[in-house]
Amino acid sequence: MIDQQIGALFVQIAYIGASAAFILGLRGLTKPDTARRGMQLAAVGMLLAIIGTLLNHEIVTYQFIIIGLVVGSAIGLPMGLLVPMTAMPQRIAISHMFGALAVTLVGIAEFVHYRDVPGGPGVVKMIALGFETLFGALTITGSFMAFGKLQGFITGRPVTFPGQKLINAAVFLGAVGLYVTLVLTQSGGATGDAGLIMFAIMTVLALVIGVTLVLPIGGADMPVVVSLLNSYAGLAASATGFAIGNNILIVAGALDGASGFILSILMSKAMNRSFANVLFGAFGGEKAAVSAKSAEGLTTRSVTPEEAAMRIGYARNVIIVPGYGMAVAQAQHAVRELAELIEKRGGRVRFAIHPVAGRMPGHMNVLLAEANVPYDHLFDLEEINEEFHACDVALVLGANDVTNPAAKNDPGSPIYGMPILNVQDAEQVIVVKRGMATGFAGIENELFYLDKTSMLFGDAKSVLSQVVTEVKGL
């Protein structure tokens, strides 16, 4: 008995240490130079928590634990070491699925376990258990859908069909209805077979919600979705903590939930959508129909890589605006080469990064960092937007909607009000683009038709390589 109490105390101390390590670790992430050490501290915290748990007196057999740990490490380690930086959005999406899967299985196992406990889980635990399983299950399928869209085996276009909202609402209400019923019936005592069936149906409905939530969402809205699923996975983990009375889960889940929540808000602000709009997954749907200004009667000017090289090569102040097109073409290394070349010639190069450029928060930063672009060359929207005035050449690289001046001066535009990069203020603009297709919002970008704008058509990577060769020859 005494031994058991000392053991329990040790476990709690390990958990407290782990909580502190997590919080301090995240604090390290507020600065690039402390970030790595911070995360190493967090990893040590995690190890501490795991060791502490293995000493838990409830554990009687170790073979299942060992198999799970070995299999998980065998999959996780190569995933961590080998996944290329370009596949990072998919990898983040699928990791939310694994986290949610663990949480949901714990929720189901706990619920089933309470069938043998006199009195059942009780109202309070049932609230936590139900929440955990509901959010866990919808995050499993939601993350898998997001993964599919990012990986490309599920269409990146919004999938809609008549009556979709009605069906979604019915499924959602069904799941919530079962959840509430389960909680209310707990005051009556034990979990009977009826409870088990209700719980099973609720879980299945939650799985369906995950699919229908992400199905109508298009590729460019992925930063919001991925952040939101991040938050859900965290909240589900926190609920697990409530369900089994474990504080480290509550703390870690709350940290993850808060982080995902903040990112979702930042992303939806950067797209000028209300948070409610995001929560109910209403985005991406009706946009295709709204084509504000047509491009008729407007002409663009296209340039050859040689001409572009002349302008870029002699520029003193260049701002590069990367977008999803850069990621698709994997042009980040060519961009870095160009940037170094300009600097060698005495020019200054900065990168302007819109919060929703790419497919997840911070996507462009990671790609450019991978290509060895120093992070003090990367600037956020607020930091650099006033600098476009003083810049000789703005090089837009596979970005579209985030540079559209219509967001500022056309109240009829669907993206009106969205914060954009003030590329149009630059002396000259060079846009590298594959063709004249519209961006994700399905609207024309008047930036492309300005007198100061030149279009450089082609695949970003090959076009930039040509520009680099030309600049070298200047």
């Binding site: 407290i16 690039p32 970030a35 634990i65 996780g76 663990a102």
Partner: protein, 127 residues
Amino acid sequence: MTALLTAIGAAAAFLAVTTADTATAAASTTLVDAQIVEVYVFLLAAFTGFQIITKVPPLLHTPLMAATNAISAISLVASIVIAGAERPFFINVMGMVAVAAATINVVGGFVITDRMLKMFKKTEAPK
């Protein structure tokens, strides 16, 4: 500094729960008290998270996601108990799958976060 203070606060609440747990062993009627303290822990942790994470620059948002994902794989702790406790066979197996899924995130998550953070470098001093 606020972050540190809140962290200490959270730790204190944590200890309070430990004591409350011992108390519940004596008198099971105080169960609700323990759960109220859990709510405190959640609120303090969420508040701390908010304070710190709003200060993370957009530059590091992807590593932040990877990192919080790895941290929330702490559900491994709950999975381990289910895989190893005295439960029916199929529950242990479910626990085993949960352990595997959470371990993927713990191992893969910390490794990939470190790989990413290693890439962020400042301009080198001119040679």
